[in-house]
Each structure stands twice: as C-alpha cells, then as structure tokens.
C-alpha cells in the first residue's frame, strides 16, 4: 500500500493519503476548475484514478460531484486545469472522445428509448452492420451475452418499456460497458434500486475492479461507499477536502467531512408517546395491476412506514387512494368515507400526498415559487374567484422560514432550487391543504444529508401536531430510523408488519423479498 499521513480533524483521527508516484495513475485530473459566469462550481481539484481500484466520490448536493464526472467524461470542459490519461495530456471536447479513450459513464437517470427493444437500445447509434443491413441476429446474441454477464436475464427482444426499473439500469450499464473501457464512472447507480438489486450491482462493480478497470463511484449511500471503496474523495463546495483510504472512515466520518461540521444524529429521537386512535382506515383496496386487497390503519400521532421493493406497488397503492389511479375499496378518514374517484375530494377530505417524482409530478419547474406553493390549495387560499397575491406572498415568506427553504430571491423559479429545497417547498405545498394524514413517498430521494435530517425533523413535528404520517421509502434504514411501525409490501400485497424491537433490516428484508428470493426472482418484475 502507499504511504499514509495522518491529520487531526475535530478530535477524530482521520487518515489522508498521498499519491504514490510508483503506481501509475490511469487518469489524472490536475487542478481542474469549472466556472459558470461568476459561479465557481469546481475549484482546483486534483485526483488520481488507478487501475483495479474503486474510488468513491462523495459530497453533499452541489458539492461538485456531477460537474467533476461530466468533466472526466467529456460533457463539459474545465475552465482551468488539465486531464492526463496514462501520463499523456488529453482534452475531451465531446463525450465521444472520452468514450474512445475508454471512459464509460453510467448515467444517474435512465436514458433509454422505451419503445425500442433491449438489444436495439444496447446498440443504439452503433448498430452492427452486415452486407449493408442491420445485423439483428448478432446484436441480439451479443446483448444476451453481455446482459448475462451482469446477471440480467431479460430477453433482448423485450421492449424496454415492459422491463423493470432495475433491469433498465442493468441495460444502461451493459450499454456503457459495450465498448472497450478502462475507466467506468457510476453516477448514483443505486438510486432507483433496492435490496437484492443493489447487491447484484455491487457484485458487478467488484468484478469490474477484479478485471483491472478503474471504477469511479458516486453515491449518496454511505453504507455502499464504505463497503466498496478503496479510496474515498470528499468534495465540499466545489473543493476537494481530501482523499482517504476507504475502510478507515466510518459513515459518520464521511458525513462529517461532507458537511464540514458535526452532525447531530440523523434521525430524531423516537417519541415514547403511544399513537392515538385510528385516523385513516383503508379496507380491501385494490389498484388493478399493482395492489390487491390492501387493508390497514394509520393512527393519530403515528409515523407508519411502507417498505418493499421498487415495483411492490406501494406508490401505486397510494396513488389509488389519492384518486390518481382507478382503484376499488373503501377509505375512511376519522370514520368518514372518502370518494377516492376524485383527487380533489381526497385532498379536500384531508389526505395529502408528496409524490416521489417531485420534478415530474410535484412542482412546476418553470413557474415561480408562490404559484407552486398554493397550487393544490387554490380554493382554500383564494376564496371566491380572484387571486389574492399578497396573501400568497405572505404564505411563501412563512413557508420559507418555517421549512428553511434556502433561496436567493423570492422571484426564482422552482426548478432553480436544489433538490432538498424543492422537497421542502413540496412539503409546504402539500401541508397548505391542511391535511390530517400526510403521505410522503421517498421523502429524501436525491437529497443531501443535512436536508435529510431536517426533513425527518419536519415529519416528526407533523405527528407531534397530531397528524398521521405515512412514509414510503426504499431506504430501510430510513424507515427503521423514523417509523413507529412498518408495513411491508411485496408484489402488490401486504406481507406483514414489524414494530418495536422487531424493526430490523433483516426482518423487513425477509418480508420484502422472501418468496421472491426463494424463486431466485428478485422483486421489481411484474
């Protein structure tokens, strides 16, 4: 191993690492910076990427991780600094040039053509030709082989639209690995995956490393980073804080380095107060194709978790309850039945729902904040037929203060806020309808750690006010950390409930995947 030097940081011994001149760096970024106008998003970052090594890059949202990735893979060019490949100076003006140099990027978002087949997607833009026509047979064969290597068994003829999210992710990875690669960059690859699927992906990454590839790994999930990374580089506010040998850092160390200060415990302390009477009663609710005969109750002052794999039908169940999807069954709020055919009626009755897709379904990104804030409470907010703009501005000011939404001007558009602040705005928007039951789908997806803690605190304060709160999450730790009780769904059905001391990752995972694991068929497939 290379030489190490220790530094003292806030009383905790953290080990920083010097670059070892003996081992050749495959890709070296030297003092790279990126400026957009007056804004510096990345400043003077130097990093060596070695073959056969997994190098994790962590940092809060806006720390410059994505910018750095985009620099390395040719999507943007640095305003200062240089890149060197095998010691030779290189410049990537286009992503294709980085690709030709053997740098493969697996995007965070899934960028596939849904109407095309798996094989067509794999070879999109670089179709194999034979005698002047597209050679479908060879492409299908190669696609099957390549996907099998990744442990993905979907048919190359399946339409991407019809395969599970996890499989799409694997198709996307296969696509990146189709060319010769020496460096593979993963940008938040597990954001859409759960449990077993994550395990499979991590195994693939370790395999790439064994084969001598350099892996650059960006993730919010510090547990994955801790398990995988040989080296961890921490970015904060566009600057490199340091590179550390992976296994010497605890998750708390990483979080502290990312935030630059001590974090209070991520999850608020659980209340000991018992939950109150039943608030929401759902009986025999079915959402055709997604959820079957679901019955449960949520109580006053209770945080109820919904765990399960992606595709287990949790989101669809609540979209059914909210009147956003055709559904059958009865829903009662404090004993009164609710008409679940109309989204308006459900909102007015007092159930609020924060969608997991805040950019696509939650906020009007090109609209300013005030219209976004009051959109679901138009009638309550503007009685009569006219708009009351000053009221709206007052409400915005209150929301900004109450939910600690960070912004430069009240005139900005929702799309200009960071993920965490968008989530807080969405929370404020839903709470403006004064719901007594608040359903939050993936409350902290794509949100940095400081904002996460805040969101948890808000959830806690909601139940302290006597509301019932339902949290749907794919992060088991999160559910265990904040919920009083967790219901587990699998393949559209409720499979069990855990509470108290029984709330362990093991128990939840068992309920979420047990049958599926026995078949060797992991959840997420319909």
């Amino acid at each position: 191993m290379s030489s190490v030097l220790s530094i003292e940081r806030e009383g905790e011994r953290v080990v920083a690492q010097k670059a070892d001149p003996l081992r050749h760096s495959l890709l070296r970024a030297e003092g790279v910076s990126k400026q957009y106008g007056p804004v510096t998003v990345l400043s003077d970052v130097t990093l060596d990427i070695l073959p056969g090594e997994i190098h994790a890059i962590i940092g809060e949202n806006g720390a410059g991780k994505s910018t750095f990735m985009r620099l390395l893979s040719g999507y943007i060019e640095p305003t200062a600094g240089t890149l060197a490949l095998n010691g030779e100076h290189v410049r990537f003006a286009k992503p294709e040039q980085a690709q030709d140099a053997g740098i493969a990027l697996v995007h965070q978002e899934i960028l596939l053509a849904e109407a095309l087949t798996v094989a067509e997607n794999l070879f999109l833009g670089r179709e194999l030709m034979r005698n002047g026509v597209v050679d479908d047979r060879t492409m299908r064969r190669l696609a099957t082989e390549k996907l099998a290597e990744l442990g993905c068994l979907v048919s190359p003829n399946a339409l991407v639209r019809n395969i599970a999210l996890a499989d799409r992710q694997l198709v996307q990875i296969a696509r990146a690995l189709l060319d010769d690669y020496r460096i593979v960059i993963f940008d938040e690859p597990t954001a859409v995956l759960t449990g077993e699927e994550v395990e499979r992906l991590l195994a693939i990454i370790l395999q790439l490393k064994e084969q001598g590839a350099a892996v650059l790994y960006i993730s919010h999930r510090l547990d994955e980073v801790q398990r995988l990374a040989d080296k961890v580089t921490v970015l904060r506010d566009g600057k490199k804080i340091g590179t550390y040998p992976g296994r010497t850092l605890s998750q708390m160390d990483m979080a502290r380095l990312m935030v630059g200060r001590d974090l209070a415990a991520l999850y608020p302390e659980k209340r000991t107060k018992a939950a109150g009477e039943a608030m929401l009663t759902v009986r025999d609710l079915s959402v055709p194709g997604f959820a079957k005969n679901i019955s449960f109750q949520a109580h006053k002052s209770e945080i109820l978790g919904f765990a399960g794999m992606i595709g287990a039908g949790r989101t669809e169940l609540f979209e059914g309850i909210m009147g956003l999807r055709p559904a059958t069954g009865t829903v009662e709020l404090e004993g009164k039945p609710i008409n679940i055919r109309s989204p308006r009626a459900v909102l007015d009755a007092g159930i609020g729902y924060l969608t997991e897709d805040r950019k696509g379904k939650g906020l009007l990104l090109h609209e300013r904040l005030a219209p976004n804030l009051t959109l679901s409470a138009l009638t309550r907010f503007h009685p009569g037929i006219f708009l009351r703009r000053s009221r709206e501005q007052d409400a915005l000011r209150t929301a900004v203060e109450q939910y600690d939404i960070r912004l430069k001007s009240f005139g900005v558009k929702a799309g200009q806020l960071s993920g965490g602040n968008q989530q807080k705005l969405l929370l404020a928007k839903v709470l403006l309808t004064t719901p007594s039951v608040v359903v939050i789908d993936e409350p902290t997806r794509g949100i940095d750690i400081a904002n996460k803690a805040q969101i948890y605190a808000f959830i806690q304060s909601l139940v302290a006010e006597g509301k019932a709160c339902i949290v749907i999450s794919s992060e088991m730790q999160e559910l265990i950390g904040i919920c009083d009780r967790i219901l587990v769904m699998r393949e559209g059905r409720l499979r069990g409930e855990v509470s108290g001391d029984a709330m362990t990752e093991h128990n939840v995972a068992l309920l979420a995947i047990s049958d599926a694991a026995a078949d060797g068929n992991v959840g997420g497939r319909k």
């Binding site: 989204p343 939650g362 959109l375 679901s376 138009l378 708009l387 912004l407 430069k408 009240f410 805040q454």
Partner: protein, 330 residues
C-alpha cells in the same frame, strides 16, 4: 418547527418580471410600423392604421380564445370553419325572424351565435378531454364538419343577410365610438376580460398549470378535464363574438368564409409569446401578434415587393420562424 434560519438576504419578488417573451411582440410591432413608414409614409396615417387594426379584429378575438386553449396544452384547428358555420346559422336565424321580430332579430341572432359558439367549443372540448383524442385530430375532424355544414347550408353559394337588417347591423363593423372603430373596441374588451381571467382569477392559474405539466396539475387536485373543456368553450365564445363582428363586413356567409383563419390564429398566439406546448398564456402579446400579421399583409399590398397572393405563405413562414425562435431560445 425546530429549525429556523435568518431569511434576511432573500430578495423580494418583483411585481413585474418582464422578459423578452413579454415585450418581444410589441417591439416587433413597432419595428414593423417603422419599416412600413419608410416604405410608404401613408402607412402610418390614422385611416390606414385604423383600417388595418379593424381588419385584424376577427383574428385577434379568436386568437385570444386560442390563447386559453394553447395555454392549457390544447390546440383548435376548427376555429375558421366554426366561424363560417356560426356566421351562416346566425344569418339564417336573423333572416327567418326578421319578418316577425323586425330589428329585434339582430340581438336575438347575436344570442344564438354565442350559444352556438359555446356549444361548438364545448363539443371540441369534450371530444378532446372525455374522448381522449389528440386535439390536433379532434379539431381537424370538427374543422371538416363545420366546413361541410356551411357549404351544405349555403348550397355551395352564399347566405346573404336580409336587406331589412343590413343597415341596422352595419355599425357593428363599420361604426365608431369616440372615433374608434367598434371592432377595435370589442377586441380590446375581449382581451381585457381574457387577461383578467388568465391573470387575476384562479382559473388562469389552473389553465397554465395544466398546460405546463399535466401530472403536477393532477397531483395538485386540479381537474384536467374541466380546465381544458372550459378553455375550448371560451374559444367557442370568442369565435362567436368574431362571427358577430364579421357578419356586416361582407353581409353574407360563404363556404370560403374563415378559410385559413386557424393558421393566422395559431400564428398570432405563437408570435405573441405563448408556447405552443402550453404554459403561461400571453393575451396582449396575442393581440399584438394578430395586428402584426395584418400589418404584414397590408405592407405587402402597399409595397410592390411581394405579391399579395403570397400573404398566407408569408404567414406560414412567420409561424415557422416563431417556433424556431421558441425552440432555440430555450
């Protein structure tokens, strides 16, 4: 809540946040007037300008309605033939009633026009929303239906208004109030009401939200069906108002009435700054757009550069350029 932060440094929202899309159409209008003046000094005379703006009134009024439809993510191709159809029905009704009701046939006919317009718009709206048919196809269909109906009603010829009514009805198009031609006053009034609905009422918010992102609107408890249907119905009412103004201009409805108006209407909306894919509507921009189109046509007549037979061609070019500008300014 436990976590608070000082919010001292946040700049307040400016009441008027004016961007290029807001002023662009008016700048273009002024530039066009200057060009016109350079080509032919008569261009800026009160008479000529008055005539041009009066002629643009039909398109302006219909385009104000189209601003609602396009703002909420729809499209209506049937406006031209709907205008012809309403004109035909209105004249037939007035002629039938003239012997018994005398002059009262005119206001009664106007009421009929509005009711028919609301009904036609409602039909378009329901086909698009409840029937879930692409607006382009749905209104392409009704466009054919309305056009066939006016051709059938007029037997391929024309439906002239009864002589006894002609003089009494004339002022609706040719009359002035305080020196301003009535059609101009009517279109300004329609635009004023529209901008009030779009910017000061809740419905306007819903309209823009549905057009900007259907899912967000749905998840916010806004009824897509209701919002869109209302927009098409407003469009129908606007077509009816335009038809009422149109009757005295030629004094007849013919199968060629309102041909290609949909092109001018959509062009006016787009060059007025409303995005064709939906979102915030720009009512006054739309009015400026309608005037711009008529000014260009007028310039083509006054100057000898381009044949006036190419007017529709020029309008086609303008809408394509406007769309390209929208595309590349994003």
């Amino acid at each position: 809540m436990t976590i608070m932060v000082n919010s001292t440094a946040i700049r307040p929202e400016r009441e008027w946040n004016i961007g290029w899309t807001d002023v662009g159409p008016f700048v273009a209008l002024i530039v066009l007037m200057l060009i016109g003046f350079l080509i032919n000094p008569d261009f800026l005379s009160a008479t000529n300008l008055g005539n041009v703006i009066t002629r643009s009134a039909f398109i302006a009024i219909i385009a104000v309605g189209a601003t609602f439809v396009i703002s909420c993510g729809g499209l209506d191709l049937s406006v031209g033939s709907m205008a012809a159809f309403i004109t035909g029905i209105t004249i037939l009704f007035m002629n039938r009633m003239a012997p018994d009701w005398g002059m009262m046939a005119i206001p009664a006919g106007m009421m009929v026009a509005i009711v028919v317009g609301l009904f036609c718009g409602l039909m378009n709206g329901l086909i698009v929303t409840i029937g879930r048919i692409e607006p382009f196809i749905a209104t392409l269909g009704t466009m054919g239906i309305f056009r066939a109906l006016i051709t059938y009603m007029s037997d391929g010829g024309s439906i002239p208004i009864d002589r006894s009514l002609r003089d009494a009805y004339r002022p609706v198009y040719f009359g002035t109030f305080a020196g301003i031609p009535l059609p101009i006053i009517i279109s300004v009034a329609v635009a004023a009401v529209a901008s009030f609905i779009l910017y000061k009422m809740k419905y306007g918010r819903k309209c823009a939200a549905v057009g900007a992102n259907e899912d967000v609107a749905r998840y916010s408890g806004i009824s897509i069906i209701k919002t869109r249907t209302i927009a098409y119905t407003i469009q129908g009412a606007c077509v009816a108002i335009a038809a009422i103004c149109y009757v005295p201009r030629l004094g007849a409805a013919t199968p060629t009435t309102g041909v290609l108006w949909e092109l001018q209407v959509i062009t006016a909306v787009v060059i007025g700054g409303t995005a064709l894919r939906g979102g915030k509507g720009h009512v006054w921009g739309t009015v400026a757009g309608a005037v711009i189109l008529e000014l260009i046509a007028n310039l083509m007549v006054l100057s000898d550069f381009v044949s006036e037979y190419l007017v529709a061609g020029v309008q086609g070019v303008i809408i394509i350029i406007a769309m390209l500008i929208q595309r590349f300014s994003k």
